[in-house]
Amino acid sequence: METFVPPVPSRINYINAQYGLKSWLLTKDHKRIALLYLGSISFFFFIGGLYAMAIRLELLTPQADLLQSTTYNKVFTQHGIIMVFFFLIPSIPATLGNFLVPMMIGAKDLAFPRINLLSWYIYMLGGIVTIYALLAGGVDTGWTFYTPFSTTFSNSYVVATGLGIFINGFSSILTGLNFIVTIHTMRAPGMTWFRLPLFIWAHYATSLIMILGTPVIAITILLLAFERLAHIGIFDPAVGGDPVLFQHLFWFYSHPAVYIMVLPGMGIISELIANFSRKNIFGYSFVAFSSLAIAVFGFLVWGHHLFVASQSVYAGMIFSFLSFAVAIPSAIKVFNWTATLYKGSISYDTPMLYALGFIGLFTIGGMTGLFLAALAVDVHLSDTYFVVAHFHYIMVGGTLLAYLGGLHFWWPKITGRMYPEGWGRFSALVVFIGFNLTFLPQFVLGYMGMPRRYHVYPAEFQVLHVLSTAGASILGVGLLIPLIYLMWSMRYGKVASGNPWHLPGLEWRTQSPPPTENFDYTPVVTWEAYEFAPPEEMEVVGKFRDEVAEKV
């Protein structure tokens, strides 16, 4: 395999190409926009995390001591809204996806750079409107906005929050649209569909959900806001509307939205598993198509949120069946990842630790989903802590771990500096332990009958709640450590070469950080995905950046 040797060395990269606030706020470079997103998403994650801590502290005791009911209701609602709409959904696609999709396919940028920037502004506008709603008085409907509570009975800032989410939805749509068009039309010569990294397949599937689902939640929230403002109603039973219709429309988006959150994470895991075991992924096409299958099947299962919501028994059976069917593509992925490790050359770098943690936790998260798809058991478990534990296993154990793993993996590419490996491994371990201690007890709480969204609970549930809060504190510390050392490494970290991990992917065949147009020349791809070469060959690629670094 030939390696890429840029003919004209250049130190100019996307970070130092231009200076000044204006050069960032008006940038059309997908890499800079990714960094804008990274900053704002971290901010929202921090706020959501504060709410989470408030929830866990209140639940230490069975009485209402830290928070009273009104406050508690707002805190869990806002935790959900911030985390779902402003962290989890944009997290991986808007940051790592934005940065890497063009680089991995050998393009200079996304197809619509201006729309990409616009999507960040829309995201920020939605965020500001939502923050305004939180500061003005908050919202207490639960992130699900069930009618008629949200339309008629709640006294909080439902319309303002809804507006924030509505606006934010367009950012998601535009990102998805941009990815789909980019992946279809901007691939470098030779980059055929089956040479694409699986990260790209996952983002393609994610984008499909974004463009097909998000408009439905947009119109639903719009109708809800009008109902609340003008007392008319498609969802209001008092005037002949049907509150269950709201739930159908809401979950038509919000169940697939779970796959918006986890599919890009699966894409990252495929990259990490292959790259850190230096093996081509086992069953490439099965992993690739299972992403698409999840995107399609994900739209067929929303009714499992309505098993006890007075949905018809027959619809319940259809949805239960389809929900079991969607488990298969996820299982295929897990088995293929495991098989990839077989006879690999496995290193224990931080990203790989996150990837291994992901597989374990995602297995638990996915399998507990089967409990909720099984009709009779779901009747008992729905709206209990079992559900809370299940989706945190997917979203924190899945998405967040993948996000952190990916961030560490591509950190040298993004910043041109290495993170401190020892701290990385240590914090990955802390996160893993803290996470399990937080959420494993909640499965048990759920089966014992502890309902969601209670801040006062019978005393027999306390022991498990205390365990969970203890775990949350560990998890919180585990998440703070990377925040500190990653910031530290931007300045003091070891300078990274163009290809510090010695990998074949296109994003590693350019300097770190990359130049504004990613590659000095449009690359021509002549190799398959995950075609590993001996490190000494790969180092040639990295040398270029090293040489430059030496000259500094």
Binding site: H184, M186, L212, A230, I234, L245
Partner: protein
């Protein structure tokens, strides 16, 4: 195997830096608009779903409410919009073949027809306003309060379900009108650049793409017209 690199073509002034050539740029633009239209279909889809559900739940209330819409204005508007779609298609055609005069005339006609549609819609809305048919308290001083006799309300029919029809009617036609307004805005931008000779047979993707959008808005109306104005007409026979 030797690495090869693709060189840029001699670039057209409209070619953006990150595309290899105009063909790729055009393909991306068209595909982008189609993907966007998919989101639009799903956006309207939510409302079509609500319409279908409540029409089947309250058929008589919907028929009574529907019969009170002005079928003449509705039909005229349908024709206006179809005509505007035709002129839009002609605008794309004349750009493709490089007939600049025809291109500008077609664009102007499309804008005028779009505005005519919106004007007629405004007249209809005003009639509904006078009949107190604007649902809920959307207009604060003029809540939903139609005269049951003028509506030919039958005893078993709840006025609330009539209101439901009007809410769906205003939500759907309102959203459609908003898309028309955006469309007219986009067409005005097109017209401005056409006058500046921006679009040529080689480069005219914006005209094409905005044309797609305009036709889509037309299609939405093609469905709204029978669903809102026509169904149930044969039951009452009372028009307007």
């Amino acid at each position: 195997m030797a690495e090869t690199y693709v060189e840029h073509e001699v670039s057209h002034p409209a070619l953006q830096h990150h595309f290899e050539n105009l063909e790729q740029q055009r393909e991306a633009g068209t595909l982008g608009m189609w993907v966007f239209l998919v989101t639009e279909i799903m956006f309207f889809g939510g409302m079509f779903l609500a319409y279908t559900l409540y029409r089947s739940k309250y058929p008589e209330a919907f028929a009574i409410a529907s019969n009170h819409l002005d079928i003449k204005l509705g039909a005229i508007n349908t024709a206006v919009l179809i005509f505007s779609s035709f002129t839009m298609a002609m605008a794309v055609y004349s750009t493709q073949v490089g007939k600049r005069r025809a291109q500008i005339i077609s664009l102007v006609l499309t804008i005028v027809l779009g505005l005519a549609f919106l004007g007629i819609k405004a007249v209809e809305y005003y009639q509904k306003y006078e009949d107190h048919l604007i649902p809920g308290s959307l207009i604060p001083g003029n809540p939903f309060n139609p005269d049951p006799h003028a509506m030919h309300l039958t005893p078993g029919v709840s006025m609330q379900h009539v209101q439901m029809f009007y809410w769906i009617y205003f939500a759907m036609t309102g959203m459609h009108a908003l898309h028309m307004i955006i469309g007219v805005g986009l067409l005005s931008v097109l017209l401005y650049f056409s006058l500046k000779r921006r679009y040529t047979p080689e480069y005219h993707n914006p005209v094409e793409v905005i044309g797609l959008y305009w036709h889509f808005v037309d299609i939405v109306w093609i469905f709204l017209f029978p669903l809102l104005y026509l169904l149930g007409r044969h039951l009452g026979g009372h028009a307007g």
